[in-house]
């Protein structure tokens, strides 16, 4: 049984499944059976979504709202910091996603090899994922303090010069947060890759060994292409996470210094804090559209690559 047949088999069953199960449900359950779930979905998801689209077109103080058409969207796009925050969002999303793919793959290859204390090393890689983002952010804020932080004290002790202002220098603040995000999220990417590599049938490796392939050739021609499903999962998950990332940025730099590490989500949060409820709702609608516009085609493209395999 080869890998490709598993995939194509899945495709067939996936195509057939929805229609078959829909008919099945129709026949078995009466309407009232769907009602409780339907009402919960309506009240908690549909109604707030519709409301938020409405409030995005109003000037809203929580006490009263005035309909102002597209003014909020115009204002949001004319915000001087918006271009910067949009660029930061994309830089942050694609950089964290890319680094997690590359580093996660490398770590997974190492941790799939028969090395000493493999189980322990795998757990250590995964631990940061289990810690809350706020805790990680506050910890790194202390560690990266330009003069009292451990990191820069070490740099000063070795080089004799002051280290960089990791979170306070406007040129590198965003990159520092990217580094922290990668450190925190790499465990999940590694885990997905380990599972992906473990799912590759052993026959390929045996055949390669018989043909005398080098380890680089094994990696390039077997592990890399056959763990593609893992790659696309990691890309999608980390990109969605990166594009709407907020908690780490807020706890480390609050979008600062000034506006240097602002992303769309932190701009929205600040507008909400300031009481611009209509404007920030409009921002959320825009964030929703931006994330969808990037993720939907990307995920379609990655899926189409998978079926070719």
């Amino acid at each position: 049984m080869s890998y490709t047949t598993i995939r194509s088999g899945e495709q067939v069953s996936l195509k057939r499944a929805p229609r078959a199960s829909a008919e099945h449900v129709d026949k078995t359950y009466p309407l009232w059976f769907h009602l409780p779930g339907g009402i919960i979905y309506l009240v908690l998801f549909i109604v707030p979504t519709v409301f938020s689209f409405y409030f995005a077109f109003t000037r809203w103080t929580l006490f009263k709202s005035t309909f102002i058409g597209f003014d909020n969207f115009v204002l949001f796009f004319s915000e001087p910091g918006l271009i910067g925050s949009l660029r930061n969002t994309l830089v942050y999303g694609f950089l964290t996603s890319g680094l997690k793919v590359v580093l996660g793959m490398m770590l997974a290859v190492v941790l799939s090899a028969p090395i000493i204390a493999r189980g322990y090393l795998r757990s250590v890689t995964f631990f940061p994922v289990l810690v809350s983002a706020v805790g990680v952010g506050l910890t790194f804020q202390v560690l990266l303090d330009p003069f009292n932080g451990v990191v820069n004290q070490l740099i000063t002790a070795i080089t004799g010069h002051d280290g960089p202002g990791w979170l306070t220098d406007p040129n590198i603040a965003l990159l520092s947060v990217v580094g922290i995000d990668v450190w925190k999220g790499i465990g999940l990417a590694t885990l997905i890759y380990i599972a992906g590599i473990a799912a590759i049938p052993n026959e390929y490796f045996e055949a390669a060994r018989v043909d005398g392939a080098s380890s680089w050739q094994v990696f390039r021609n077997i592990i890399l292409p056959l763990s593609f499903p893992a790659t696309s999962t990691v890309i999608i998950l980390s990109l969605i996470g990166g594009l709407r990332s907020f908690d780490l940025i807020w706890t480390t730099t609050q979008g600062g210094p000034g506006f240097a590490s602002d992303v769309i989500a932190s701009v929205i949060y600040k507008q909400y804090q300031a009481g611009f409820y209509g404007l920030s709702t409009a921002g959320n609608v825009i964030l929703f559209i931006v994330v969808t516009a990037i993720i939907y085609p990307l995920s379609r493209w990655l899926n189409s690559k998978e079926t070719v395999l």
Binding site: T66, G255, G256, P257, G258, F259, K270, Q273, A274, F276
Partner: protein
């Protein structure tokens, strides 16, 4: 099996009963059984006060509440706390809009109060007899559409520059009355190897002082500035003089290299520590921090002095002052509770309540209630501050004479103070920020 089932049923029943018992009392009355029993019988009313959780608020407020509860008024008051800053603002706004506010709440006066839509949400106190005890300057900061809404809690504070008197004495410096003198002092302090100006952008709010405390200089240059600014007059913008000077002064000290080297990451408390130790000479600040630094060393209270932010002209030198926060009654409270809340506010507006607060925490400035006096032996900075009030050289800060304050000022002043943007660009950006706030408030002419 059946036994276990019964046990489970009993558990569910008791949980349900517990939930019923919980819903029967308001959050504020939790655990108040003992005290309401001792109050005057059936007429006892319990009200709660929602206040921010800073020491500067809770300590004196709790003392006032204790003193009030000790009297036999038939009203018992409880304190409930909320976070400070913008998170606290959101809690107050959400509770008001859902009609879920405590019977009394503590909140800022001035522009932040204006954003609460007082006409709809707050009970006017204009006709209450106890309002005669309240200072007129405070009344203007809690007035909206001709109605007065609050009673002051705590003391006025000054915005200006705290300085280390020992450093000044050692270098033979005198308190500057003009910006030129201030910069000349800075040059000498720097030559002596001491940081002339402390900035602490780890707490971003501290970056606004040079701009906000400059308002006395703005309003002496143009007494109508605040009115024009609220009305969107193009001559009263931060991007043009006289208001632009505040941003330029921040830029001046940053460009001259007068800041402490860890200005970008230091926190407010670290800044105060530098000031007390004398590694930094001057710190633009609000005087409410007096209690904090006084606790840092035995002599700190007398070593640290205060002067108003210098302007262009020594003859108009004066102080920008911040009104104390107020106590307000929401319209959502029932008539009976409103009457009880007014009894409490009546007590707050007496000199007796001031004395209780003075005992709880050393005052950081004068009270806004008539007949209140300050004790002797106060920290030097408070005495310096009091002098401006005694001489009448005081202007209220802009946020108390206009409902407009842009929410992003502290980010913009960090940018200017860190030399990321110029003073002119920062001021222009702040004008945009103010415009958004004006539109949100629905002001005319924007």
């Amino acid at each position: 099996m059946s036994f276990r089932k019964q046990g489970r049923l009993a558990l569910i029943a008791s949980l349900g009963a517990g939930a019923l018992a919980l819903t029967a009392c308001t959050p504020g009355s939790l655990g108040s059984n003992a005290s309401s029993g001792s109050a005057s019988g059936a007429t006892a009313v319990t009200i709660t006060v929602l206040a921010d959780n800073s020491d500067q608020t809770t300590k004196p407020l709790q003392a006032v509440i204790d003193a009030f509860n000790a009297k036999d008024t038939g009203v018992t008051v409880k304190l409930e706390s909320r976070p400070q800053g913008t998170d606290g603002d959101n809690i107050v706004k959400t509770r008001l809009s859902t009609g879920d506010m405590d019977e009394v709440f503590q909140y800022n006066s001035g522009s932040l109060l204006a954003a609460l839509d007082p006409a709809k949400n707050i009970v006017p106190l204009t006709d209450e007899s106890f309002m005669a005890n309240v200072d007129d300057s405070f009344k203007t900061s809690v007035t909206s559409d001709g109605q007065i809404y609050g009673v002051p809690l705590g003391q006025a504070t000054g915005g200006g520059i705290l300085y280390n008197k020992k450093v000044f004495a050692k270098l033979g410096l005198s308190v500057p009355k003009t910006w030129a003198e201030f910069m000349a002092n800075n040059a000498k302090i720097k030559a002596a190897g001491i940081d002339p100006v402390i900035q602490t952008y780890g707490d971003t709010w501290t970056s606004q002082l040079f701009v906000l405390a400059d308002f006395h200089n703005v309003s002496t240059a143009d007494p109508e500035w605040a009115t024009k600014y609220t009305a969107n007059d193009p001559s009263a913008k931060y991007a043009v003089d006289p208001a632009l000077k505040g941003f330029q002064r921040l830029e001046d000290v940053a460009k001259a290299g007068y800041l402490n080297k860890d200005f970008a990451s230091a926190k407010n408390s670290q800044g105060l520590q530098k000031l007390v130790k004398g590694t930094g000479a001057q710190y633009p600040m609000l005087t409410f921090v007096v209690g904090t630094y006084s606790a840092m060393s035995d002599t700190a209270a007398q070593d640290i002095g205060f002067f108003a932010q210098p302007g262009d002209d020594a003859s108009t030198n004066g102080l920008t002052s911040w009104s104390p926060g107020g106590l307000y009654i929401p319209t959502s409270a029932s008539a009976e509770k409103q009457a009880a809340a007014k009894k409490f506010l009546e007590f707050v507006a007496t000199p007796e309540a001031c004395d209780v607060q003075t005992k709880a925490v050393a005052p950081s400035g004068p009270y806004a209630i008539k007949g209140c006096t300050l004790p002797d032996g106060l920290p030097a900075a408070v005495t310096d501050l009091q002098k401006y009030f005694d001489d009448g050289n005081v202007s209220p800060a802009l946020e108390f004479v206009s409902p407009l304050k842009g929410p992003n000022l502290e980010k913009i002043t960090v940018e200017v103070g860190s030399k990321i943007t110029s003073a002119a660009d920062g001021a222009k950006r702040y004008d945009e920020d103010v415009k958004k706030q004006a539109q949100q408030l629905g002001l005319e002419g924007w």
